[in-house]
């Protein structure tokens, strides 16, 4: 990371922070074209306001903060345009994790060995990004806004335009799908018995 306490020349931002901004956006909005647009909007906004950058945070942190707002605006806009709460429909993949007769696990979740070491592994982040890509759109938005942006349920509901119970259904499904995906593709990858 290239920290500095005054903003460097704006023409260097794209090369120094472009990839990080793109990854940050892509994990949240998932569509490459949207992520690219958000990076562009962020840098343009930064260019307009950089005289106000006071230098109490690093340049990267400052740019990410602008991007965060752009992403939340994007979700709000999206929620208004396409209010499609998938939460009313069943989620076959999540339902399929449980036995039809009893609603107990079909395959009991097994332990993950030293999961936190994965946080330091670049390949793990690639797998995580791919698991996020595999989520239905609304579930991914709910998960990103809650766990990545730290929104509470009230603010999540406002951003997505859904009720709290809808939001919890989306989060439950997102978490179980991500758990399953990480289990199969990372923590228990290559093991038999599934």
């Amino acid at each position: 990371m290239h920290d500095s306490h005054s903003p460097s020349e704006p023409h260097t931002w794209l090369d120094r922070h472009g990839d990080a901004l793109y990854r940050y956006a892509l994990l949240r909005v998932r569509e490459p074209a949207t992520a690219e647009d958000l990076v562009q909007e962020t840098l343009l906004a930064a260019l307009r306001t950089h005289s106000r950058f006071a230098g109490e945070s690093s340049e990267r942190t400052w740019l990410i903060a602008i991007l965060k707002n752009k992403i939340i605006d994007h979700f709000r806009h999206h929620a208004r345009e396409a209010p499609l709460p998938e939460s009313g429909d069943p989620d076959a993949l999540v339902d399929g994790l449980f036995m039809k007769s009893s609603d107990h696990w079909l395959n009991f979740p097994t332990a993950w060995q030293n999961p936190d070491t994965a946080l330091e592994n670049t390949r793990f982040w690639q797998v995580f990004a791919e698991c996020m890509q595999g989520l239905p759109a609304r579930q991914a938005q709910a998960f990103a806004l809650t766990e990545l942006e730290g929104l509470d349920t009230d603010n999540l509901c406002k951003a997505l335009g859904v009720t709290a119970s809808n939001a919890w259904v989306l989060l439950h499904r997102a978490r179980l799908r991500l758990r399953e995906c990480l289990d199969q593709r990372w923590f228990n990858a290559g093991k038999e018995s599934r």
């Binding site: 793109y22 343009l44 696990w105 097994t110 993950w112 690639q126 730290g150 919890w168 439950h172 758990r179």
Partner: protein, 81 residues
Amino acid sequence: MMLSCKEVSVLLSRACDARLSWRERLAVRLHLLYCAGCVQLQRQLGFLRRVGRHLREEAPGAMRLPDPARERIRRQLRQKP
């Protein structure tokens, strides 16, 4: 009050976002006494939370902004004074 694993998974997820009632907490706790699978789920939900925290300020990984987009953005930035 015997809950199924599916019901417990719903409550464990909601517990990440809101406070459960004492009844719900009790029922979950009882279930976790005899269900190793749901104990793992609870741990793994905690891990997902740490993953999210990790991603709040940074974006680890090797993925790069595609070159065509980079050039397009570069041109846009140049047009602005």
